[in-house]
Symmetry: C2
Subunit: 252 residues, 2 copies
């Protein structure tokens, strides 16, 4: 198969296939990204690093090219403390929702690094940023929120490549967070992120290491043409390949 | 600043900072990823490539490590045609929603590659995949859907690194898509993706080139500590850096 083309068209990208080093960089970032809560160091993030990470977020896909995101950079300690207070309230409420046998474990988990990280970023979704009718949002109304989530994931990956840890704090009353940050009512705070350099990155997600939940085998999550139409390695060569590649993520 | 550590702990990643080649691979992928609709080639995707791309999706972050996603691989032509019929209906409905002066432009846009791409993938969200109470979903109920969106973005980036185009088709009646694919009612179809090798990737998003909407300047999307607390380059060095880096995405 010939994927590479000699492409001199000014509107076209010249690289069809990326070389193995570029692919390695992408996969290494994907498989080494972690949700960081407890390993933040206080040293500041240089502007030139933060700028690159924000450009990565800004180049996420967005429905109808609406770019619904804004990036709120929170450096003020009082503001961070107030967000942390919101977390405390929600975290206590959350603990009560778990069955008693899991409550102790839940309380023992470190779930945020709001104060320890030098910087927090709130990524929002402005549903009106491109007018009332948006290409691709006519039938699935949440597509704009999904776009902002893609920006979160781009930021997270770029941060990891830059040696920065990111943690997504979702144990918060969204409405109170919105008031605290002065975000207009029609704009949704999608993700509250803690970001900073870290002592170390863990090899595995902390909830996996803690035995909270296991990693699902990928082959069990794949269906063909219709739900429940799963197949064995004998029936479908893709399943055989997925089973063979079981250790692929560990190679980075 | 010293970010790299000599890290011999078995649970810790050894690489704190990635080298410049790894960073280049990540940024190159982020900035060259496109929503592909019209450039698909029919040649099949090798199992070993598809397997790697699916592993990237499966290693997305997920709230409470619930991994709510499933991956429905749609290769059957009749099934694809039925999805395409759903698109046609929704696309006609959508055209009527635009003001008359934009309707012609809307109709002229190529917005899906369902039949031309060799493979479609539907990524779903099973809200019950980790029981009723999920760490981090206690207060923001949509966090599980956001996790599946992170899987979409990981898949999209891995695909681009492998030379594969991906297009997200969101002009569909979600409920009818769910019935057509036999997805249980409590499981949400988050993204319907077309995937395959392409003739070329465009330099810019098609809606940007078509003049539908311009790229927003990043510096205008950044706020500090509170909404509307935007700053000039003189007031904040991050804004100056962002303006200086205006061409950073074009370097890849």
């Amino acid at each position: 198969m010939e994927h590479a083309v000699n492409n001199a068209h000014p509107d076209h990208q010249s690289d069809m296939l990326f070389d193995s080093q570029d692919k390695h960089g992408l996969y290494k970032t994907v498989f080494n990204r972690r949700d960081v809560r407890g390993q933040f160091k206080p040293e500041p993030i240089p502007d030139e690093v933060l700028s690159r990470v924000l450009y990565a977020a800004h180049h996420a896909p967005s429905v109808g090219f609406m770019q619904p995101w804004n990036f709120m950079v929170i450096r003020d300690n009082d503001k961070k403390q107030q967000v942390h207070d919101l977390f405390d309230v929600a975290h206590n409420e959350a603990a009560e929702m778990f069955p008693e046998e899991k409550r102790e474990t839940y309380r023992s988990l470190k779930l945020e690094g709001i104060m320890e990280s030098p910087l927090n970023i709130c990524i929002t979704c402005d549903r009106d940023s491109a007018g009332p009718t948006v290409i691709g949002r006519t039938h699935i109304k949440t597509m704009d929120q999904y776009s902002s989530v893609c920006a979160v994931q781009n930021l997270w990956l770029a941060a990891r490549a830059e040696g920065l840890g990111v943690g997504w704090v979702s144990i918060l009353d969204q409405r109170k967070l919105q008031e605290l940050l002065g975000i207009p009512r029609k704009i949704i705070p999608i993700a509250y992120l803690c970001i900073g350099y870290v002592d170390h990155f863990y090899n595995k997600p902390e909830l996996e290491s803690a035995g909270w939940l296991p990693r699902q085998p990928l082959s069990e999550l794949v269906h063909f043409d219709s739900w429940q139409n799963t197949r064995t390695p004998e029936q479908d060569s893709l399943i055989a390949q997925i089973n063979k590649d079981r250790d692929f993520p560990e190679q980075f």
